[in-house]
Symmetry: C2
Subunit: 441 residues, 2 copies
Amino acid sequence: MSNTPADFVICARWVVPVVPSGRVLPNHSIVVRQGRIEAILPTDALSESQLSLPRTDLPRHLVTAGFVNTHGHAAMTLLRGYADDLELMDWLTNHIWPVEGQWVDDSYVYDGTSLAIAEMLSGGTTCAADSYFFPNAVARAMCDQSFRGQICMPVIQFPNRWAESEHQHVEKALQFHDSVRDEPGITTAFAPHAPYTVSDEGFEAVVSHANEFGIPVHLHLNETASEVATALKDTGQSPLARIQALGLLTTHLQAVHMTALSEAELQLIAAHNVHIAHCPESNMKLASGICPVQALLDHGVNVALGTDGAASNNDLDMLGEARSAALLSKVSTLDATSISAADALSMATINGARLLGLEDNIGSLEPGKSADITAVDFGDINFAPLYNPLSQLIYVASGQNISHTWIAGECLYQDGDYTRLDIDDLSRRVSGWQEKIQGDV
Amino acid sequence: MSNTPADFVICARWVVPVVPSGRVLPNHSIVVRQGRIEAILPTDALSESQLSLPRTDLPRHLVTAGFVNTHGHAAMTLLRGYADDLELMDWLTNHIWPVEGQWVDDSYVYDGTSLAIAEMLSGGTTCAADSYFFPNAVARAMCDQSFRGQICMPVIQFPNRWAESEHQHVEKALQFHDSVRDEPGITTAFAPHAPYTVSDEGFEAVVSHANEFGIPVHLHLNETASEVATALKDTGQSPLARIQALGLLTTHLQAVHMTALSEAELQLIAAHNVHIAHCPESNMKLASGICPVQALLDHGVNVALGTDGAASNNDLDMLGEARSAALLSKVSTLDATSISAADALSMATINGARLLGLEDNIGSLEPGKSADITAVDFGDINFAPLYNPLSQLIYVASGQNISHTWIAGECLYQDGDYTRLDIDDLSRRVSGWQEKIQGDV
């Protein structure tokens, strides 16, 4: 987001501003100046000066806010399909962690994150929260591609190739935080991995520094019922009770997964305005459980969406995730009215912006907000007939129908081509990693 | 399937023959002669005469058996997105049935079925079981596009634009059955709609004629728990007990949905070798419930996949359906090893062929079988890295990655273009229906 891009107008068949929910504006245009949305108005009401701007005509397209992916591990895209159809702990301890232990370094994380950004841009995602080792490499990859992100600084007890102790994680996180404070597209969060991998001292250090910097805490929490049961059995305390006692249960907490929740815990979450990053496809694929999204929404909790890593999904497609969230909520509540198409879109956009504390800047198409925009091409016969553009967006479209993605007014992806990313070079680097890792299989 | 297509060879990066399950053949070729698979062999072992055949080189592609969609209502594609996020009975009685009552006729069914075939071909589906009114129009659409199908002849108590009484449905079905008996790509089945919409007399007529012709019975069964509870309350008999008493519980029964099953019912289904058409996305979207697929498989039951109609899905993408089947089974059993990628592919292909009684001809790539084949292009960066082609096929690919679809050796779809279908003309006809129907909204 270095240079301010040129001003322009997008003239679309439909504009879906996200806020207010459910609104579809036919034949509307978005005027973008200095990387921000100046106005949204009927195309036939464009002024002469607006008409003189360069224009992008999208006559078959729905244009909406760029998607906000609130939980992922971008570098793990290098392990897409490396191990599937395995139980969570088997998958982690016997497959994922060993290969990570051998290969993860700065260049692995840079290349893997770049690959994830390529996929996210091609799928309309303009902002992602990312949790991985070597956050400097994550930041470099995001900045190089003008991608917007919350970079989560990991804290975990286990030694790894980035840091040897929990304490060293915190120290390196502080250095990292300092190094990116002037990057306009980057925010940070502390990411203590999970209650079962972080000590009380680790959490206390996180709370102290997070409060000092005014940054959020991003935490895998209640991912499975067995994780909760084990904690209760071993310590007599639930993970939620423990993190509450440690001072983490605030509106600055981004709680990821949350498939196992009692009614009392639901009320606790709601009372403290905790934000939820719901990852339906990862939760399904790893058989983690089902987050009670409708109950959380009924309690007034903000629920956003995340793809989780491509190693457990196996894509980073936020439209697919929104569809899965709607379908899973309907079948798990046995209520087909749960999570409408408009609700699912909100979860993929404005709710994500709220979780990240960025709702004043992104998450919807409103004058004054950053021009983080995506366009979906409805021209294929598979979109016909078309009664309800929102239904088509959530229930028919996938990331593969995205035609354009802009971040802060810069077009980064258009009809299969990237404006910044050297996709051939990236491809070669990814093949190189595959060969190295596959050598180990 | 009128003229025998020319002989040719497909040289693929990977051939996945489906049988045996899980096998991936790198750098293999498929020799097709007179519409049938003659041989599958390493590309570097092709003989001189095989090398002299016209060849289709697919250097980035996975080639596998065409998908078999075992439950759908193709003409309902004209109602894609017409009504969403509604409870099943509200959706049917207040939205779908009224518009069907007004518009469904021969040309509606022909155009809607043609639209569905266009989508299915573009998504790698080569055979579909279809249940709708005006089966003659369904047959015409399928024959015109050389599509393979089991056309289900509806029997229902409610009067509709095709038939006025249950008895008239049966009479018209008999006429229809007679009219298509010489069509090579077409088979038939009786489709009594559901236990709650068909009388004992209707079922008895169906059983009698199905036995006479040696054709299957295709039936919506136990779609929801409330349907079962209502039957028990109103009649003292479960739907399954009733259809058993009426003589339908045989291996010629194709039971669709089956979300509500007791352990005793599971055993009954298994004992009678009933086939199941599982429609995970429709069941999720309509909040019908979750078919216990893993338990059925554990009991040795054949479980195949169906998309159901596009009005409740909202696409006809069998790869997406296979992924949803795997993910839903994992999360509902809390077992991530349930339904592997290879299992999901079998459900989308050979299990479907078995359900339709066509396993000697289609459902896998084996010498002697019909050349019903599809190719998936893995060239996109979103498929990288690629450790496991089967994982990429089920967990990453969707219908939008299909590059080629052949039926009986005829290439019907290639890289966005149809060889038989006039897509512009179809588009115009679909727009015409949309305008008429939308006028009523």
